[in-house]
């Protein structure tokens, strides 16, 4: 009896592993196929710009409002701690480094996954469920070139811009709370920030992170949509997988990137 349970358990683990490895292989091939079709996304620039609008411009509200509030809360919490050491004037440094290095790319990435990634997955999944992708194939038009590549690159281009705007709004929110509300000296706030934030170490690394997160979210979004079961339930599951999978991947990738960028390999 117990050996039966063990065998069943092993079978289940084996089947799950097989499915995972198969999907991973398919996703890798899919990623290279999307890269192969990049020239057609450039040729169809209008389509890529349209996707930048849908994934980028239409995500602005949530990104800007979140950035503003995150910045304001950071300022409140920062002042509370810095005050204990008489280092209120360092608020600009704390906020800017937190936002540019970590919170900007990561939180913008998580918001981007739930706002734009889920929408892209649902759109491609529904196109599949309603035979639109099959119709395109039957018209001798490759959906990877016409549908997937522009959406992938639209997301990859939008993400760093959204992260930059998130950080900018965060800094502005911190300024409103720290300088305008609490009364920290404006010259110290901006001056310390300008002196401490390094373009190469902080801003460029933040941009690299946001590009990597853009690739992660966009790949999850287009792959899950393309691979979705063509049913209502299948599209729903695919959308959930995009949000959960890309969010976890962002957090994992952020840790790895931070290790290499800011601590060196030896930690």
């Amino acid at each position: 009896m117990s050996s039966d349970v063990l065998v069943r358990g092993l079978r289940r683990v084996g089947a799950g592993t097989l499915v995972f490895v198969t999907r991973l292989g398919f996703a890798t091939r899919f990623f290279f196929a999307v890269l192969y079709h990049t020239p057609s996304a450039i040729r169809r620039l209008q389509l890529t710009l349209r996707e930048i609008y849908f994934t980028g411009v239409l995500s602005l509200v949530i990104i800007l409002v979140s950035g503003l509030f995150v910045g304001m809360v950071l300022a409140l919490q920062g002042v509370e701690v810095l005050d204990r050491y008489g280092a209120n004037e360092s608020l600009g440094i704390v906020v800017a480094l937190s936002l540019v290095r970590e919170l900007g790319p990561v939180v913008a990435g998580l918001l981007f996954a739930s706002r734009a990634g889920s929408a892209v997955t649902a759109e491609i999944g529904l196109m599949k469920a309603t035979d639109q992708l099959a119709a395109m194939e039957m018209m001798a038009v490759d959906p990877l070139a016409r549908v997937v590549a522009p959406r992938f690159w639209g997301g990859v281009i939008s993400m760093p811009l959204l992260a930059a705007l998130f950080s900018t709004m965060g800094v502005f929110g911190a300024y409103l709370v720290g300088v305008r509300l609490i009364g920290i000296d404006a010259g110290a706030f901006w001056g310390n920030m300008q002196a401490a934030v390094d373009f190469r170490t902080d801003i460029v690394n933040g941009v690299i992170k946001s590009v990597v997160f853009g690739v992660i979210v966009s790949l999850f979004a287009v792959f899950e949509g393309y691979d979705a079961q063509p049913t209502a339930e299948g599209v729903s599951s695919a959308t959930t997988r995009t949000v959960v999978g890309s969010s976890l991947a962002i957090l994992g990738a952020d840790f790895i990137l931070t290790v290499f960028m800011f601590r060196g390999i030896g930690l």
Binding site: A135, E137, M138, M139, A140, R146
Partner: protein
């Protein structure tokens, strides 16, 4: 009614499956997995210029035949030849070149929901030609006019009825003047007026454009009015075939069950199960 029979007889008289096949399937076998074969040796000839129906119950493999002809799937064995080319042996470029000459109307139209009716019909023209915009416009309006929907060019697919969507999809399927048009359940879910309109358009388009039409359907009444020849598929095999007149007068049990819509016959009413007494005995 006599007029319709005479016309049908005239079409039947011209039919000769051996002549100039647009599509030929020989001993085609296919299954999505080895344990459950869907097609078990299909032989079929679709002559050029004719309207041919493939009929059968739900899940009998009709749509699979269309997918094989369109190269979306490959047979496990057998021959699929379209326009003289062996479809399973074509590479991607060859397959896409062939598909430019094959139009397909999907069950519910499969119109692109983010585009207008005009853009949907213009889509294949823009993708495969470098025609200037004013020429594309004229072509699209001509195609839409042929299906009676020139006035709906600016509408979105969500604003169309089922019948209208099917007609727009028909205009799109014929936008590049294909040699073959495949219809997957073109009559499904339509009201009687739309049903008649779509049926008449299939016949008219076929005759006016000189294409070959392959209609997968289970609508016997509408099909018998417009097609030149019918194949009946059941459990992955062709079980009967003939012209509309032959089908009407056929004594074949499967054809009779299908044409007369009988609930029981060669296709049983009951799904395979243990004997009734055994099941009830088990309960008691």
């Amino acid at each position: 009614m006599p007029h319709r029979s005479a016309r049908s007889a005239a079409r039947s008289a011209k039919f000769d499956p051996a002549l100039d096949a647009a599509v030929e399937l020989a001993d085609v076998r296919f299954g999505y997995d080895r344990r459950r074969p869907i097609l078990k040796g299909i032989d079929m000839v679709i002559p050029r210029g004719k309207v041919v129906a493939i009929m059968g119950g739900s899940g009998c493999g009709k749509t699979t035949i269309l997918r094989l002809i369109g190269g979306q799937i490959r047979p496990q064995s057998g021959k699929v030849v379209v326009g003289g080319q062996s479809v399973p042996h074509l590479d991607r470029d060859g397959l896409y070149a062939l598909r430019r000459r094959v139009g397909m109307l999907f069950q519910f139209g499969a119109l692109f929901t983010d585009m207008s009716v005009f853009e949907n019909v213009a889509f294949p023209i823009r993708e495969h030609t470098d025609l200037p915009d004013d020429v594309v416009r004229d072509l699209v309006l001509m195609k839409l006019n042929a299906v009676g929907l020139r006035g709906a060019a600016g509408l979105k697919p969500s604003e169309l009825s089922g019948g209208m969507a099917r007609r727009v999809a028909l205009a799109r399927a014929t936008a590049l003047d294909p040699m073959i048009v495949m219809y997957d359940e073109p009559f499904a879910g339509l009201d009687p007026i739309s049903l008649g309109v779509v049926g008449r358009l299939i016949r008219q388009m076929n005759d006016a454009l000189g294409v070959t039409s392959l209609v997968v359907t289970h609508d016997v009444y509408e099909s018998l009015k417009i097609v030149d020849y019918l194949y009946f598929v059941s459990e992955g095999r062709i079980v009967a075939q003939g012209t509309p007149d032959e089908v009407r007068s056929s004594a074949d049990p499967f054809v009779r069950q299908f044409v007369d819509a009988q609930p029981d016959g060669p296709v049983p009413f009951h799904y395979a199960a243990r004997p009734l007494a055994q099941d009830f005995a088990h309960v008691l």
